[in-house]
Symmetry: C2
Subunit: 249 residues, 2 copies
């Protein structure tokens, strides 16, 4: 929800007014903002790779300029999360490590969620995780983490629903296909005259279609089914659910 000042003159707001997470223990301190959390997380990552972390490294990792890092480090030092002296190297305090680890834990299971369960590619899974990690309550975190563990166990156990899910996630709307792609028709949404018309045109469950020409925003889409050439409007293509053949991400 909306940002709230955390200053001398704290405004009254019911509940936990912050967008931010509550951490184990350190409940007395004001919570970190998403940006500050990312500083912590990334400093921790850099420390795992090199035993000396410089302002420049952090700036590069977060794709920001050095003065922004300097300012952030001063704040984090103030909060007792980093050891840092001007012109010196950066280290995490014990408390800082705990914070960083707790963020990274969320990053990890969220990444697994998007990657393993929702079958997203690594990069997008990581990006989503790194955005969401700052907004999960500790209860939601726990449950999410359990769910990911549960999924992995079910996968090991060879449970069939995993395959059913994968199958559903592969489905797209015909209108989402790119030029040249082939796909199998899974089902046709809606009902009434539109559906009837599509069926009459030859769009039936199980048929294989081939997208010949599709310029985004430019109706119509030209496709072939078997040996027939067909034109279909984007809006109509929107209600045809297909499963792309071959190709991965």
């Amino acid at each position: 929800m909306h940002k709230v000042y955390v200053t001398m003159k704290m405004r009254r707001r019911q509940g936990n007014p912050f967008n931010f997470n509550d951490y184990p223990d350190t409940s007395m301190d004001t919570p970190l903002s998403p940006n500050m959390e990312d500083y912590m997380e990334n400093i921790s990552m850099l420390l795992k790779e090199h035993d000396v972390v410089r302002v420049k490294d952090i700036a590069k990792k977060l794709n920001i300029r050095m003065p922004s890092v300097t300012a952030a480090l001063q704040k984090l030092k103030e909060k007792g999360l980093v050891d840092y002296e001007k012109y010196g190297h950066v280290q995490l305090t014990t408390k800082g490590k705990e914070v960083a680890d707790s963020i990274y834990e969320k990053h990890s299971f969220l990444t697994e969620f998007f990657k393993e369960i929702l079958s997203m590619n690594t990069q997008e899974a990581e990006e989503q995780a790194c955005k969401l990690e700052h907004h999960l309550s500790s209860n939601a975190s726990n449950r999410m983490q359990r769910f990911v563990e549960f999924y992995k166990q079910e996968q090991l156990d060879g449970q069939q629903w995993i395959n059913r899910l994968d199958s559903v996630l592969e489905e797209k709307r015909l209108s989402e296909l790119k030029e040249g792609q082939k796909a199998e028709i899974i089902r046709i949404l809606g009902s009434g005259p539109l559906k009837k018309r599509l069926l009459e045109m030859g769009f039936r469950k199980g048929e294989i279609i081939h997208v010949l020409k599709y310029a985004p925003l430019k109706d119509p889409i030209e496709i072939s089914i078997k040996d027939f050439l067909l034109s279909i409007r984007v809006e109509e293509a929107h209600s045809i659910i297909v499963k792309p053949l071959g190709s991965h991400d």
Copy 2:
């Protein structure tokens, strides 16, 4: 990740920070911030309840003061999302309705995710949804939504994994129980001497325990198993997974 300015003097940053297609300038305006998205979402909600929405209503709903709302409305008008004249009532434009609906759609399936799948209570599910909704990419959105739909179908089909998941989500660590609660021991984490010791104390899968005394942060926890009274340190209790009996939330 870190904020990027989108102003007259756009900073140079490698890559395209937004998920926009670099098409011939579709005059794609800058994306809304989470806060602005919440304005849109809440204005839309208010419009569903009353046909006139006033600055005061929005301020109340978002728990902020009126001048903040006035400022926001001016920006949203600028972006062509709301119809609004000074001292007048607020309406959404066609474009504004689309934006609001798209946010609300995310809000909805995320709420379902937390509520139905992760078994969280309504309020916390809503809160989490309303935070995360602003940070989901459209791909992640689609997949998430499909997953929720999939889950609901599996539930209708009476698939057993749903029950297994519910069961796992009910589990807690012994250290999370409150005074007076009873629970069944599900399993004991870890291995080696600690686990052995716990087993010897009588902590075995299937046993019912009763928490007699537990002051948070104050070791030890006093519990009973069958007719035995036991004291256990919080750290040890942490590795005992139990399922609370009775009680909800």
